[in-house]
């Protein structure tokens, strides 16, 4: 598929993109995460698209999964309204506070701490 973006056009391998997106969506909706950190590398590294094309478009693609996942979870009775109401304000507040803190921190340092945290949590889940 050909995609034109700000005066440039890119060739996209839709088969790989769709299969990858599908798998990420199955896991994402199954385990309840968005999948952005996997989607962006899929489009940039595997499909070789530039970052500026990917940031907005991957968000749009993930949004499809989030909407469908939400509807289906709701349909199966997995949605707890009170728990949602407790966590939603926290998530919205984080959207305001996060970017303010981000300016003061080195992104590289944050990533390294995140790697450590994810590893600890991951191992804790495995055993």
């Amino acid at each position: 598929m050909e995609v034109s973006f700000w005066g440039e056009s890119f060739k996209v391998n839709l088969v790989v993109g769709c299969i990858g997106g599908f798998l990420i969506a199955v896991l994402g909706s199954m385990f309840g995460f968005g999948g952005g950190p996997f989607m962006v590398p899929l489009l940039t590294v595997v499909l070789g698209l530039p970052m500026y094309l990917v940031v907005g478009s991957s968000l749009l693609a993930i949004f499809f999964n989030t909407v469908m996942g939400t509807v289906r979870h709701f349909q199966f009775g997995h949605f707890d309204l009170l728990l949602f109401c407790a966590m939603m304000p926290g998530a919205i507040l984080a959207g305001f506070v996060g970017p303010k803190i981000a300016k003061k921190l080195s992104p590289l340092m944050v990533k390294r701490i995140a790697v450590l945290g994810l590893l600890i949590l991951g191992v804790r889940l495995l055993f």
């Binding site: 598929m1 995609v3 839709l14 299969i19 997106g21 990420i24 199955v26 994402g28 909706s29 199954m30 385990f31 952005g36 950190p37 590398p41 489009l43 530039p50 970052m51 500026y52 094309l53 940031v55 907005g56 478009s57 968000l59 749009l60 693609a61 949004f63 499809f64 999964n65 909407v67 469908m68 939400t70 289906r72 979870h73 709701f74 009775g77 997995h78 949605f79 707890d80 309204l81 009170l82 728990l83 109401c85 939603m88 926290g90 998530a91 507040l93 984080a94 959207g95 506070v97 803190i101 590289l108 990533k111 995140a114 790697v115 994810l118 590893l119 991951g122 804790r124 889940l125 495995l126």
Partner: protein, 423 residues
């Protein structure tokens, strides 16, 4: 900006009103109890009598039970809540005779949200044996070894639905074909499996606390933990193998704000903690550039006794609004390729259709295991993003991205201007 604040206000308002209605809901008056008898035990030959020292507790607590039964027989006490919760169990165990795997999903909405059988103190050993088996313990065997099979009564007759799950069914997004109801005996066995899926550990179902005197009188401490459902609880004693049953008594568990009972999750909790957790984790998520779900979900199942289905189904919608805002902001400056986003989005739509059904088919330990692998993969991915080669490349990409975004913003501003002048 204003939109976001309004949204936040609305969300807070809704949650606050929900909390209060939840609080008063939990504090419903005593009464109703189908067979709640007056306290006070009178011994009669061959019968079982019980009495409780309290009629209500506040957000969990201890109730002392006294009673009498024919001398020399073991006594079991069954305690359960009126509030019910959903549980499911996916049977994929191979049938040893035929070699077939059943692939049947058993599901109920009426498992008591709190359930416990108090067994004689001398059954401690049987309970330890079950605990030593780890995840593969069998609820039926544990009940049997503790001699408590006869006491398993309240959940034995709950309605259980059976679905035959098939690959085709999963793809078209159905739970599978609803199978006809089972015989009461089979229902009873499945109810035990559902009990295990819900309460996970043998010591969450069985407690060796019934102390019997030689003359047949017995005492037991009923410990209702914090986080148990509010409302009415029932207590009943069963003596001996032929199952002489006492009257059913009841007591109330009052839950007050900020503790609320989560209907779907079947647990009550102080809502401040999930709020704080979500805030901290999502803030960190913004910093590291990954959504909060990756960290929030595993923490939720590790900290609270929440089912994986509820965690996945409740965390997912929390990012809906932030994603929608992001898309709106990008689309304002025309920084989205709709063609690319929708093309891959349609594949993801299909994935999102299938995923939530699969959550029901895995056990909590499988959920944790796969999530653990996903997190380690993610950690690897992020570690790679901190290597010097990647950082250098990323810097260049970022500069180009900023340039494009600036251009896009200027173009958007230019388009907006003529409109202003004509207005």
């Amino acid at each position: 900006m204003n939109r976001k604040i309004a949204l936040l206000g609305a969300a807070l308002g809704i949650s606050a009103s929900m909390l209060f209605s939840g609080g008063s809901f939990a504090a419903q008056p005593v009464g109703m109890a189908a067979a709640a008898g007056p306290a006070g035990a009178v011994t009669a030959a061959g019968s079982v009598q019980i009495s409780l020292d309290k009629t209500s507790i506040q957000n969990g607590g201890i109730i002392h039970l006294r009673g009498s039964a024919p001398a020399g027989v073991p006594v079991y006490v069954e305690v359960w809540s009126r509030r019910t919760v959903r549980a499911d169990y996916f049977d994929t165990k191979m049938n040893k005779k035929t070699g077939n795997r059943p692939y049947i999903l058993y599901m109920t909405n009426e498992l008591p949200a709190y359930y416990r059988i108090l067994v004689p103190t001398d059954r401690q050993g049987a309970l330890e044996t079950a605990k030593a088996k780890g995840r593969s313990w069998s609820c039926r065997a544990a009940l049997k070894n503790c001699g408590a099979i006869e006491a398993f009564e309240a959940p034995a007759a709950i309605p259980i639905e059976r679905y035959h799950v098939s690959v085709v069914g999963s793809v078209i997004g159905s739970r599978g074909n609803l199978l006809p109801a089972m015989s009461p005996e089979k229902d009873r066995v499945r109810a035990m499996q559902l009990l295990k899926m819900r309460f996970r550990r043998p010591d969450a179902i069985l407690a060796p606390v019934v102390m019997t005197e030689p003359d047949g009188t017995f005492t037991a401490k009923i410990a209702v933990p914090q986080g148990s459902p509010g409302g009415t609880f029932f207590v009943r004693a069963v003596a001996g193998q032929n199952g002489v049953t006492s009257k059913t008594l009841s007591f109330q568990n009052h839950i007050a704000f900020p503790y609320v009972y989560l209907n779907v999750a079947g647990t009550s909790m102080d809502l401040f903690w999930p709020f704080l957790l979500s805030f901290v984790v999502c803030t960190f998520g913004v910093l590291m550039g990954a959504g909060g779900g990756f960290i929030l979900n595993p923490l939720l199942v590790l900290i609270w006794p929440l089912p994986a289905t509820v965690v996945a189904g409740t965390v997912m919608p929390t990012v809906l609004f932030s994603q929608a805002t992001g898309i709106y902001n990008y689309s304002k400056i025309k920084f989205i390729s709709w063609k690319l986003g929708i093309a891959i989005g349609l594949a993801m739509l299909l994935g999102g259709f299938i995923g939530p059904e699969l959550t029901e088919l895995i056990t909590l330990s499988q959920f944790k295991f796969v999530f653990g692998i996903i997190l380690i993969l993610l950690a690897g991915l992020m570690a790679w993003q901190t290597t010097p080669g990647y950082v250098a490349r990323n810097k260049k990409e970022k500069a180009i991205l900023d340039q494009f975004q600036k251009k896009a913003r200027e173009a958007a501003a230019k388009r907006a201007k003529p409109e202003l002048e004509t207005a």
